[in-house]
């Protein structure tokens, strides 16, 4: 076994010290009737070389950004990861340590969390940030629980259809056994109708959840949504795109009370959906209801500045069933990567990244809409994503054909929005080049010809 030290002689000496005759005897506390009387039915062990080969074979079966051009979005994006982020993320002092329970043994880790919190508050315009949660969707659900607890309103939570469908589903799942009801707001225009929202809010509403830019890539009128929530005494939860804050107004600027995000875009690879980074920041008067760990600055016994985990009376290991959340392990490694990423980018780098996403996605949208078959589903300004409606209503065929030509062209929306079965979501990050965008447009345009060819061929076959 590659990771074990004990030789048979070691084992013998240890058993003697213990006063046991065999290793089996150490398992005597387990009743014989409960023991497994056969080996586990698992494949046999692999050497490192065999393992490496096995995994390379499996990895080779997956299309990835190395062999396909990715225009997929919907909460996960193919952004660039600078080399310094990988170097820092591979420091094994960081990745093989655990939660900094002993502050003296973890000053590096704690200072990084403090710097991360500081960067997140600057990014969002919020007062305080925690040390991370699991991902964007579960952070949104935690924010809803927090809002219910802060407002003591157990009536309802308003989520628009323009919020990521998996975020909505996560919120509903979290609330299933609690009193509060999830009220869904239709968004046929691609954004929240503020009048309709105002009509839906009442004095039992704990929170309104806004996504900016929203799931369709559209820019919401965040200030009006915030005003509507505020007037009714409900909290505004905003799910934001960290990259967009290079150019867009910050959640704190328009009165967000709890800001959450999927933070994988700050230097963490897509990895088929996780592990990612749940970002949460909030107003300072809500901090004692915030879930998750928080690092704080203090001094040590010599008066030197140092950092500790603080406000732990919110947490499960102290408060048990009265804790603000059950979270224990968070996503520390990706808070570290985000810290490295944001440091490397700086304000100008973030602004340029956001601008490239905006310019390129607008170019892509225009080029696609040059094709008679395609149009934008919504007449709204967008940031880095947009929804294309396919007049031929063959999204599946279109995307499959693009796949075969090396393009991961878009996310079909019919799976979540039955009325949008003829629509797909296209995301364009700073990594996409004009050439790639032009090739995508060609590939999608060509598909129509191919398909027409196929159909004509079939028709001819039938006639004959």
């Amino acid at each position: 076994m590659p990771y074990l030290y004990n030789t048979p002689e070691d084992q013998q000496a240890m058993l003697e010290a213990i006063g046991a005759s065999s290793i089996d005897e150490l398992f005597d506390p387990i009743p014989e009737s409960l023991k497994l009387d056969r080996p586990l039915d698992l494949p046999p062990a692999l050497s490192e070389m065999e393992l490496d080969q096995h995994l390379r074979e499996l990895a080779a079966k997956n299309a990835n950004t190395g062999n396909s051009v990715c225009f997929l979005g919907g909460g996960c994006y193919d952004h660039f990861v600078p080399a310094v982020v990988d170097t820092i993320g591979s420091r094994s002092e960081f990745y093989t340590s655990y939660t900094p329970y002993q502050a003296e043994a973890s000053q590096g880790n704690l200072q990084v969390v403090f710097e991360y919190q500081s960067m997140i508050t600057r990014l969002t315009g919020m007062d305080v940030s925690n040390a991370s949660l699991y991902d964007g969707a579960s952070s949104a659900a935690e924010a809803v629980l927090m809002a219910i607890s802060c407002t003591r309103r157990h009536g309802k939570v308003i989520v628009p259809a323009s919020l990521h469908p998996e975020y909505r589903l996560t919120i509903s799942t979290y609330l299933e056994n609690l009193d509060a009801e999830v009220v869904e707001l239709e968004t046929p225009a691609g954004v929240i109708d503020v009048e309709q929202l105002t009509a839906a809010i009442d004095d039992t509403t704990a929170a309104v959840v806004l996504q900016q830019p929203n799931f369709f890539g559209c820019i919401e009128d965040a200030q009006s949504v915030a005003n509507a929530a505020k007037e009714a005494g409900a909290l505004l939860i905003t799910a934001f795109d960290p990259i967009s804050l290079g150019i867009l107004a910050r959640p704190g600027d328009y009165g967000t009370n709890i800001a959450v995000a999927e933070g994988h875009t700050l230097g963490t690879p897509m990895s088929y959906g996780g592990p990612y980074l749940g970002i949460m920041a909030c107003d300072k008067n809500l901090v004692r209801r915030m879930p998750g760990r928080i690092a704080g600055e203090t001094v040590d016994r010599h008066g030197n500045r140092c950092f500790v985990l603080t406000m732990q009376t919110r947490e499960q290991h102290i408060r048990r069933e009265k804790a603000t959340s059950n979270i224990c392990s968070n996503q520390g490694l990706f808070a570290l990567r985000a810290t490295a990423y944001l440091s490397q980018l700086g304000p100008q780098g973030l602004r340029e990244t956001a601008n490239l996403c905006l310019q390129k996605s607008r170019y892509a949208a225009e080029q696609l809409c040059e094709q008679e078959r395609f149009s934008l589903a919504f007449d709204q300004p967008t940031f880095k994503e947009f929804v294309i409606r396919d007049a031929d209503n063959d999204v599946e065929g279109l995307l499959r054909s693009a796949e075969q030509q090396g393009f991961l062209a878009g996310v079909p929306l019919g799976q979540w929005y039955p009325e949008m079965a003829d629509c797909f979501l296209v995301a364009v990050t700073e990594k996409r080049t004009k050439a790639e965008i032009d090739q995508l447009v060609d590939a999608l345009a060509q598909e129509k010809n191919n398909r027409q060819g196929r159909q004509e061929h079939q028709a001819e076959t039938v006639q004959h």
Binding site: L51, T170, L178, S325
Partner: protein, 483 residues
């Protein structure tokens, strides 16, 4: 040797105009922001992030890394956390572009290799737990607890038997009662006996048809296998309730006994503990759960299915609780766990548990003469010593011992948990440590307990900082660096 300049806060190392990132020129026709976006949506200026070049980012963070104790640098016997070696071949595997650079909304046809790994993980976890269904979706152990309790609630709703209570022994992880409350249940504490086992009389007193689930950690947080496990499960089942196994301590029983065989209806795994995924300075973990057939329809969707040689995601689960997060799960962690399980095979996994238990018992045999271990002579993968006598006789607390150990290059054990043991010191050596390391730890511990109290009260003496003022941190919170 310590570099105090480059470990200043990164904001203090920043200078306007210094920048690292240089992005490509825009290769599409560029337009004014004002033309593309409504004025109200725009920020006045980009966020006030630090401005530092690459070498500064690296020197700053690499120096901070050296101020952090880790498994790769130190013995790290943090009880309950299973701080075992994190194999480097697993890191290489997870970073392969065919795994790392894959988007979660790619079609099944483009990710057959990924789905094969995940399907095999479901199968392996089911076999190791003796439970026939699996969801890989939860993001951490506590998240798995919450998910399983939501599954249980959905099951009881579906059979029209709404139940309100979840029982948790008093030595349970704090996550158990916290998860119960989050899932909408009343968390009821169950007493344990002086021996550290579930008090059967108290169980009988609290067990009725309103109890949905008994959450049990077995081996327990005291490192003991619950001798009445089957009896407890039978009593709970007789009242129609379910058993949840907190799988934090699976490292003790791989291939030896299976939760499904000792009465559990549901369990989570902590792959970052049992299957060596690194702990990442606080995460990520993953929290896959396994359940019985009758609970399978309620699992979060999707599940990976195999038909012939094809793998696909199954979303068609009408009774599913829904989702507990976006996308598939913490795939990067699951891949590392897969690499670990494939490296060991069935015999290897059993050797892991045997050596984890051997190492813990050996260390117990060396430590019990130095610090009393109230719950006995033997243990499974960890044990809990008590500093109660030292506290009384010499005014040396468990925390003092923890802090002084750092001076000797050993990470502190878990202290003050479980709550049932006064001045608790919870030690889990894991199987990836040598007899020499365990001997050295026992000798250090002995030496420390012989030291004068003041030396311990002032410890640690060799670390970058010593005894942070935690009261000040909580009462006058400074949670961000002021702009």
């Amino acid at each position: 040797m310590r570099n105090t300049h480059d470990t200043k806060l990164i904001f203090d190392l920043s200078k306007p105009g210094r920048r690292a990132a240089r992005l490509p020129a825009c290769d599409v026709p560029e337009r004014d922001l004002a033309e593309l976006l409504p004025a109200a949506a725009l920020a006045d200026a980009p966020p006030a992030l630090p401005e530092v070049p690459d070498p500064q980012v690296i020197r700053h963070l690499v120096n901070l890394s050296t101020l952090t104790m880790s498994v790769d640098t130190n013995f790290y016997p943090l009880g309950s956390c299973t701080m075992k070696y994190n194999p480097k071949r697993n890191e290489r595997a997870a970073a392969m572009p065919g795994f790392a650079d894959v988007h979660p909304y790619q079609s099944d046809a483009t990710i057959q290799g990924m789905l094969e790994v995940l399907y095999n993980m479901q199968e392996s976890l089911q076999e190791i737990s003796g439970l026939p269904a699996c969801s890989l979706q939860p993001a951490a152990g506590a998240h798995g607890e919450l998910t399983a309790l939501l599954v249980a609630a959905a099951y009881f709703r579906d059979i029209d038997e709404p139940r309100t209570k979840v029982l948790c022994p008093d030595n349970a992880h704090g996550t158990n009662p916290a998860s119960a409350a989050m899932a909408g249940f009343d968390a009821i504490t169950l007493k344990t006996t002086a021996d550290g086992y579930v008090d059967l009389d108290d169980l009988d007193a609290k067990l009725d048809e309103s109890v949905a689930v008994l959450m049990i950690t077995n081996p327990s947080t005291l490192g003991l296998f619950e001798p009445n496990m089957r009896e407890i499960a039978d009593r709970v089942h007789a009242k129609g309730g379910l058993i949840y196994l907190d799988g934090a301590n699976m490292n003790a029983i791989l291939g030896i006994t299976r939760p499904g065989d000792f009465g559990a209806d549901m369990q989570h795994y902590n792959p970052h503990k049992t299957f060596s995924g690194p702990h990442g300075g606080g995460g990520p973990g993953a929290g896959p759960i396994c359940v019985t057939d009758k609970l399978a329809p309620y699992l979060p969707a999707p599940i990976v299915r195999k038909s012939g040689e094809d793998y696909s995601l199954d979303f068609d689960m009408p009774k599913s609780i829904g989702r507990v997060r976006a996308f598939f799960g913490n795939v990067g962690v699951l891949l590392r766990a897969y690499a670990y399980i494939r490296t060991h095979g069935p015999d290897g996994l059993k050797r892991v548990s045997e050596n984890a238990v051997l190492n813990a018992n050996y260390l117990l045999s060396r430590v019990k003469h130095i610090l009393p271990v109230p719950q006995g002579n033997r243990c499974m993968h960890e044990f809990v010593a008590s500093g109660k006598d030292l506290k009384r006789d010499k005014d040396i607390s468990a925390m003092d011992i923890a802090k002084r150990l750092l001076d000797f290059g050993v990470h502190a054990p878990t202290v003050y948990f479980p709550l049932t043991v006064p001045e608790a010191i919870m030690v889990e050596p894991t199987e990836t440590e040598s007899k020499e390391t365990l001997d050295a730890f026992a000798e250090i511990l002995f030496r420390i307990t012989e030291e004068d109290a003041q030396t311990l009260h002032d410890a640690p003496h060799t670390t970058a900082v010593s005894r942070p003022d935690e009261v000040r941190a909580a009462r006058q919170p400074v949670l961000v660096h002021a702009e």
